[in-house]
């Protein structure tokens, strides 16, 4: 069972308390967006075999959205962080770099 701690309540939540929300840090382009941009926002996914930044909601707790950094092959969780950011904070990136040698954030 996956356990993530909610960055707002500090509670270590069982997966059954959470609602998954898919890839994080997607850019939603404005009214002048090209078809390709909008397709990218709606559908194109990194779906990596490795480090994944994703959205979760503490559905049966505080109800708030947050972010998690997780490895999709080892299921290791590198950390969770609040939703009000457009990219992973440095401490999360450091935690990943320490555990996954050679890892680089992809665009």
């Amino acid at each position: 069972m996956l356990i993530l701690s909610c960055p707002y309540c500090g509670v270590a939540c069982d997966e059954t308390e959470l609602q998954p929300g898919g890839e994080a840090h997607l850019t939603r382009f404005g009214p002048d967006a090209s078809d390709a941009d909008f397709e990218g926002y709606l559908f194109r996914r990194k779906n990596p075999r490795g480090v994944h930044f994703e959205r979760w909601r503490h559905a049966y707790g505080c109800g708030k959205w947050f972010h998690a950094a997780r490895h999709t092959v080892t299921l290791e969780v590198f950390g969770t962080y609040p939703a009000q950011v457009t990219e992973p904070p440095p401490d999360i990136l450091d935690a990943i770099a320490a555990k996954v040698p050679g890892w680089e954030p992809s665009s």
Binding site: R44, N47, P48, T72
Partner: protein, 414 residues
């Protein structure tokens, strides 16, 4: 390799079964092939088979990182049906179901196709309306299905509790020629025929890179060295995103774990396949007597072939309600596969931004039933550049908004 027949069995019985030969070869890769297929699951092998049989393309290699049929093809609950809502889906799934009817004869390999009938239960008013609509659509598509009432459901499947308590059975979409087949045998049968045609099925050979020159594919890098090719078919299910990344494009796909489990074997008690989409469970009985049960997918990206336990609990809880007798059964085995879920829950059979590279993926939780039809259409696409079966399943539909939205009709259960 020799033909399998009753005479072959008799002949071998007289010589201590010393005359059976390997069902498929174990070749080293050649320097160059006209076409390479990545992934020796059902879809990859069927593609290769129809490339040879329908289009005369036989200088073909199928590269598999593990063992053939070891992906989702060997992990699924083997339900075969074609009662979809949208025309393009009905066309390709019904083509597949039709080919399954005499696939054993075609491949000279017993795939144990058993058209025992599939019941998709309606347990809400919404589902009744949905399935009636599907039945009307199927009538127009030439797919034989029928909406039946609860009394008929009980006749077809006496072990079912149709009165609830939570979700009484209000009716069902019944496809009498749907059923099951032996999943491994489908992979093995196609592999044997491919090998017989002179194709190379190369196991333990992982593709690690796709090599291109001026936007056109020239070959692949593998754990057994570089291999050249003129055309490349990527047919790797849950690993599609990873391999597409090697070729330099991104897919509308998330990979998640889907699980199944089987019970201890019991005497025959259920001779149809039952799917219950509202409560998320489906069940059939194997020839060995095991109850074969499929559940729901996890909601997060995962490559471990291992799902979360609470999904099993949910599935079993739901099925115990509909089939009270299984509450006493012990479950023997449980496993998972990595399924490739697309944005509109329909598959992708398409050209790609790289010339010469084609992709067949996104079958997600329900592609076993499609193997022969998918192979047929995808081989045509690879050989001729287009196919009526695959025309609507292109990658560009996500940009253009031409979705084939089966998520309403098919749900997650297959």
């Amino acid at each position: 390799m020799g033909r399998y027949s009753v005479f072959a069995i008799a002949r071998e019985a007289f010589r201590d079964h010393s005359g059976w030969t390997r069902a498929w070869g174990n070749p080293a890769p050649k320097k160059r092939y006209d076409a390479i297929i990545i992934g020796a699951g059902g879809h990859g092998l069927a593609t290769a088979y129809y490339l040879g049989k329908n289009h005369g393309l036989k200088n073909v290699a199928i590269l598999e990182k593990g063992w053939l049929g070891g992906g989702n093809t060997g992990r699924n609950t083997t339900i075969i049906r074609s009662n979809y809502l949208q025309d393009p889906s009905a066309a390709i799934y019904e083509k597949a179901r039709g080919l399954y009817e005499d696939l054993s004869q075609e491949l000279n390999y017993n795939v144990m196709f058993s058209p025992r009938g599939v019941l998709m239960l309606a347990q809400t008013e919404h589902e009744i309306r949905g399935y009636k609509r599907t039945a009307y659509a199927n009538a127009l598509q030439g797919v034989s299905t029928e909406f039946v009432g609860p009394k008929r459901v009980k006749e077809l499947c006496p072990i079912m509790e149709i009165r609830g308590p939570r979700y009484p059975v209000l009716g069902a979409l019944w496809q009498p020629r749907g059923g099951t087949a032996r999943h491994d045998a489908v992979a093995w049968g196609y592999a044997r025929k491919c090998s017989e045609m002179g194709m190379d099925v190369i196991q333990q050979c992982e593709v690690t890179g796709v090599r291109t020159e001026r936007g056109k594919v020239v070959g692949v890098s593998t754990t057994k060295g570089d291999i050249e090719c003129a055309k490349l078919g990527i047919v790797v299910a849950g690993h599609s995103g990873h391999v597409a990344d090697m070729a330099g494009f991104r897919l509308p796909i998330d990979s998640v774990a889907l699980q199944a489990l089987v019970s201890e074997p019991v005497k025959p008690c259920m001779d149809v396949v039952v799917m219950a989409n509202t409560v998320h469970g489906y069940m059939s009985q194997s020839d060995k007597g095991e109850m074969v049960i499929g559940g729901g997918t996890d909601g997060f990206n995962n490559y471990t072939q291992r799902g979360s336990f609470h999904h099993i609990e949910e599935t079993v809880r739901a099925l115990c309600e509909t089939f009270p007798m299984i509450s006493r059964l012990k479950m023997l085995r449980q496993w998972g596969g990595i399924v490739d879920i697309t944005g509109d829950r329909s598959p992708i059979l398409s050209k790609t931004p790289v010339e010469g590279v084609f992709i067949n993926c996104g079958w997600g939780t329900g592609g076993f039933k499609a193997i022969p039809g998918s192979g047929w259409g995808f081989a045509e696409l690879m050989a001729k550049g287009e196919s009526p079966l695959t025309a609507e399943f292109g990658l560009d539909r996500f940009r253009e908004g031409r979705f084939i939205d089966e998520s309403v009709a098919a749900g997650v259960a297959h």
